[in-house]
Subunit: 316 residues, 2 copies
């Protein structure tokens, strides 16, 4: 029995799986033909990203009173869409604070799902979210620094254990750590033979630095903003994800921008799936580690990419 | 009990489902958010197309002696890859005759799976296949005019009935008719409330003409060669598929080249899937018929498209 209250328990992950099942479909593991790597296609959710799992688990965990008050979140992208979508399905009022440099497709999708979107300067997103929560008595839905979110993302791990029980490696992108925190907790506590490895852009390697230093290391938003992987620009891991990463993750490696683009091209040609740049990072890491012939699952975390950018990368 | 020996029986389709199950994974139905349309993602098979179903069912139905002799097929694309892939997995010698104007990705993939590829002028493909079969005692694997192939494609219908039992419409592309022949036989004989509708490019509408005339009508390869949908250029339905289409299909409609390109863009943006032009035709038809708000499944038949062509379409 785990004593550290910051760790995500298997019980919490199994409870999340049961709770979100009516709303979230299992995603397939699609072979990257002809390698031994499978892509866990989280891009195939209705909002095109894994964030739907944590959002539903968090919203379904609210009490009646909290649901009536409504929710608020800040996000540049997939968390925004996920909370908006889940709130709409559950009939909860939803406000989303988005930085004014958010990707257009993510902004439009968030509006589509009926959220009250507030555009602010990037530096103001957290403070605006807190102010709105205070003034309007809204419940803040954290993007990653939350046990409820990580229990939700942990359900990806349960599905992998069922779909590909003989996996040897699982690679996942790292941003705030909500994805890999829950995922690694699910896998390491169920089958410690499987190694969970985090992957970051070289240009936004705060998690790798933190992992190696054993304490949280932050980059500046100007630094992390350099990577094409717009979903991985969070400049520092959350404390709760970091607690889980330290215990359950084997290592964190980095990839170059060119390796990210090349992984996007291979996902297109060899799996007929669409990855946003952040969504291709886990495959880029698996390829860099030479895992093509190993039984490996790379998390394709999302597929929300502007058509023009995507076309320019795959047509290159 | 069906008396017409040209019709695909439900028994044959259920037998095919059991036979191919160890080799062919179920494909998901991915929502085209935010419409009511789901895409049956046949692009997610290891060879990127539905043809894997018929190929495995045909090869698994061969006797020991036939397996030892080896197989030959002619195809410009997805059938070639499918037969090559299935033969490799089953340890059967495989020769594929391909027209010298075949798509490069399909040619390379067919070679990758170990087939002995013979490139010939397009007009010579059938005769070369027959000559090789005669000279080298090979078993010909028909691309569509075969009950074994249609029983294999019928398994798509069984999966739809299970995954989306409240579907009202199913749309599918029509080329030689092997896909829609088996699919419609499975669905119409299980739940006749569901309407199966074929979709063709306007520029290759031989099946629509045949359907309306009640007899086979052929176009010339020069005519059907005009469409971007390279998988749908077969100039005439097979006789066996036509027999099933006449009984089990509700109607056949056509779409323009622009509508095909637009459907490819929507599949990219709203479902994060990749469709080759032929693979987007069924969605184009569903959209043209105004089925966005109906419970509809459109068959995304394949995702094998040259990166440059795909980029030029989705970036437009």
């Amino acid at each position: 029995v785990t004593q550290n209250p910051n760790l995500v328990t298997l019980d919490a992950i199994h409870a999340a799986a049961a709770r979100i099942a009516p709303y979230v479909s299992e995603t397939p593991i699609v072979p990257l033909t002809p390698t031994g790597i499978g892509l866990k296609a989280e891009s195939l959710h209705p909002i095109g990203a894994f964030k739907i799992r944590g959002a539903f688990n968090a919203l379904l965990g609210l009490g009646e009173d909290e649901r009536r008050r409504g929710v608020v979140a800040h996000s540049s992208g997939n968390h925004a869409q996920a909370v908006a979508y889940a709130a709409k399905k559950l009939g909860i009022q939803c406000t989303i604070v988005m930085p004014d440099n958010s990707s257009r497709v993510k902004l439009e999708a968030t509006r589509y799902w009926g959220a009250d979107v507030r555009l602010v300067k990037a530096a103001m997103r957290a403070s605006t979210c807190e102010r709105l929560a205070r003034e309007r008595d809204l419940v803040i839905i954290e993007p990653f620094n939350s046990l409820a979110i990580m229990a939700g993302t942990g359900t990806i791990g349960l599905e992998i254990l069922k779909q590909c029980p003989d996996a040897r490696f699982v690679t996942a992108p790292v941003s705030g750590g909500g994805l890999i925190g829950g995922l690694s907790a699910a896998i390491a506590q169920s089958n410690p033979v499987i190694q969970v490895i985090g992957v970051e852009p070289e240009l936004a390697n705060d998690a790798q630095r933190s992992f190696r230093a054993g304490r949280l290391v932050a980059l500046s938003p100007d630094e992390t903003g350099r990577t094409i992987a717009d979903g991985l620009r969070v400049p520092q891991l959350g404390e709760l994800p970091f607690a889980n990463i330290k215990v359950f993750v084997r290592d964190i490696v980095t990839v170059t921008e060119d390796e990210i683009r090349q992984a996007m091209r291979r996902i297109t040609a060899e799996a007929r799936l669409i990855a946003e740049p952040s969504g291709a990072v886990a495959l880029a890491g698996a390829l860099k580690l030479g895992l093509e012939r190993e039984k490996t699952v790379a998390i394709l975390s999302g597929g929300n990419v502007e058509a023009g950018l995507y076309a320019s990368i795959i047509g290159a």
